[in-house]
Subunit: 112 residues, 2 copies
């Protein structure tokens, strides 16, 4: 007998396609938790420059800022925080993700 588990990937799209998914969620969640981009970029094994690139790409697609950087913040040279749009984006994704997780937790392993 083989046991199968359902898995999902969740993302958000505009009419023009992909905007925000698991990777960008980790990034924004980390910024909210840590108050800096540097620490979460390191944790996700990406360069600071690459992490900023991801954020800039989302901002371009949305046409508004989601993160603001400021000098003189926490250790490591400057902190970062989410804008109102960034917070809403994060919360929207998290809410949907939690709903899906809850739904999937009710599904038994499929046995074939």
């Amino acid at each position: 007998m083989v046991k199968l588990k359902p898995r999902f990937k969740l993302w958000l799209e505009t009419e023009d396609g992909y905007v925000f998914g698991p990777g960008s969620f980790e990034l924004l969640h980390g910024i909210q938790e840590k108050g800096t981009l540097k620490a979460i970029a390191e944790e996700l094994n990406m360069s600071y420059r690459h992490a900023w690139g991801i954020i800039k790409e989302i901002e371009e697609k949305l046409g508004k800022p989601i993160v603001v950087a400021h000098r003189g913040g926490k250790v490591g040279g400057g902190g970062a925080e989410l804008t109102q749009t960034g917070k809403e984006l994060l919360e929207t994704y998290l809410k949907l993700k939690n709903e899906l997780n809850q739904m999937f937790s009710k599904i038994d392993t499929v046995k074939l």
Copy 2:
């Protein structure tokens, strides 16, 4: 104002990882509908050999057959049909997919 729609990808895993997702679903669904692998492989723009390869890979992971081919079936040289395991796999995936689609259809577009 930017409108965002949530999207998902669904797949089934064993302990060893990925087994069955959107592509293999299309393939099995097509076999069930058309009674032949050739027609659905063409429709999905893949070679007959590649389509068989996908099926063989799933069968290897499950340790049981999901499709049986037989000569002298429909036009195009031999038909193909799902085994009981193949049918259960297809139905399991379809049921989950429909549940997710239903859940997502209730979610309004997110406006940021």
